[in-house]
Symmetry: C2
Subunit: 299 residues, 2 copies
């Protein structure tokens, strides 16, 4: 059975009754399991994590648009997190029994229906992007809702689906497909934030480091520790163990060691299994040997 994960981000994080209504719209869609949702009041934003097959995910996202557009008005929305739409961004992630190409196709299908049914302009991003300039969410979102009308009037910023002007209250939505993202932090055995910043600069893509790593050096406030805080955007091509080992090596150059690392939120089993394969020097190993994978395959 195909399992696709969707992580819609909605620009509402302060009214619990609205968030519950949105969660309810997802939860009540047949074939959908709502795994998690959380709201941030200062961001005024909620993030939902759901899984299902193609049809179920499509129905759930349409139901979410229906509920969110009735409740969110970006003209009066304020919050710290950048946003361009009421349903701001909808990434689709292939989990099991489904390819990236199928997730890209689903993103386009959902985008096309949303544009037609709700009159909301749609930008496709990441793997579903129609051009390299639209791969990065930050580029699409720059200017936010308030600058959207002017931006959409510029050459090159016509949406992939829907009208070439923002929806009055719901702006535009960004829909796409990507690999699962792993939020991964490494805490260093030091208080020196400058060391964490130097390591982050060395290992991230923008600094010449690994292609699928975003990183910054920060302070762990309550513990007086320096942290390399990362997003790993493709754990198959830039695996977690390789990032860990490089951070360890770079830290040693400053006489610093790794205190611990942590994964924030969910992680695909394969990302951890590949670390075990690396460190245990496993040869002739296949994911089919993992008992739980065999169980699901037999379902």
């Amino acid at each position: 059975m195909a399992i696709i994960e969707a992580i819609p981000n909605v620009s509402e994080g302060r009214r619990p009754e609205i968030v519950e209504r949105l969660a309810g719209a997802l939860r009540s869609t047949p074939g959908v399991r709502l795994l998690d949702y959380s709201s941030d009041a200062s961001h005024n934003r909620s993030v939902f994590t759901l899984v299902g097959d193609r049809g179920a995910v499509k129905s759930a996202i349409l139901a979410l648009f229906d509920a969110a557009l009735a409740a969110v008005d970006l003209r009066t929305h304020q919050g710290e997190h950048p946003r361009v739409g009421a349903v701001d961004v909808v990434p689709l992630v292939p989990i099991e029994g489904v390819t990236m190409n199928e997730c890209i196709a689903l993103a386009k299908e959902i985008g096309s229906v949303v544009a037609e049914r709700f009159n909301v302009p749609i930008y496709l991003y990441e793997e579903a992007a129609s051009s390299p300039a639209r791969r990065n969410l930050e580029d699409i979102r720059r200017g936010e809702f308030e600058g959207l009308a002017a931006k959409m009037a510029k050459a090159g910023w016509a949406p992939d689906f829907g009208p070439a002007r923002p929806h009055e209250t719901a702006g535009a939505s960004v829909i796409g497909a990507r690999m699962p993202l792993i939020a991964y932090n490494i805490n260093l055995n030091t208080e020196r934030i400058d060391v964490a910043k130097k390591i982050a600069a060395a290992i991230r893509f923008s600094g010449g480091g690994f292609r699928y790593v975003k990183a910054m050096g920060v302070k762990v406030d309550d513990r007086n520790l320096a942290q390399v805080s990362m997003n790993l955007t493709n754990h198959e091509k830039t695996p977690i163990f390789r990032v860990f080992e490089l951070v360890k090596r770079e830290a040693a150059r400053y006489g610093v060691s790794i205190l611990e690392s942590e994964i924030v939120g969910l992680v695909p089993s394969a990302a951890l299994v590949s670390a075990a394969e690396f460190y245990l020097q496993l040869e002739r190993f296949s994911g089919e040997q993992v008992l739980e994978t065999r169980l699901r395959a037999a379902e």
Copy 2:
């Protein structure tokens, strides 16, 4: 949902039509998934791997006894592998949503029904054993089918269920509960079997090593390599990474390094995840963060 794995071993590995009939008896039991089965002609033995909940596993094992007792006559059975019964041994393994104690209870329940319905004496072993002397399969099986009548007449060898004499054609059966067993080999960067034997002796329980490790030093015939060949009988208490690291350290004492390791057959996800946790120094990590685990929990 409770998932229990059963790995019945049957004393028939030369007549494919019989093996197919036994597989069919398991496969056609409602709620059972037959994950794997294989036969060894020189051992004259077949091993079946199936999963299901309590009721399904019980029904499947009873169906297997029914089919095996009709087809196997130990009086004429020959093979290299030691055996005491037609259905020689049935380990039950807790996989998910079920405790070891529940598997022990199920082993007793199945043993009691088999003894009554088929008049086959039953010995409980491993975690289900009624005394320490019966924990080890080897101890129960010593003397094999041919020596069984004499053994059962001795003090201390009355079965846990059923008559105090062997079944005429089917001997006795050993049923129990245990943790999943991991067949794990480490190949050394040397031809020296003596080094593999010394390491094996140092790390195994019987030599004063880890409690849940059985190990021997062997030669990998077709590659001219020395191998430490192991069974890890409780990966929670003696984890795979700790065994790997100790073998590496012991090998270094002889100037030898690890070439590679391999897992033969199936491995529970948790055994690999714990290795990732160790090497990545993961803190505040819970199995609930593994996406696939969350998916199954939501089912």
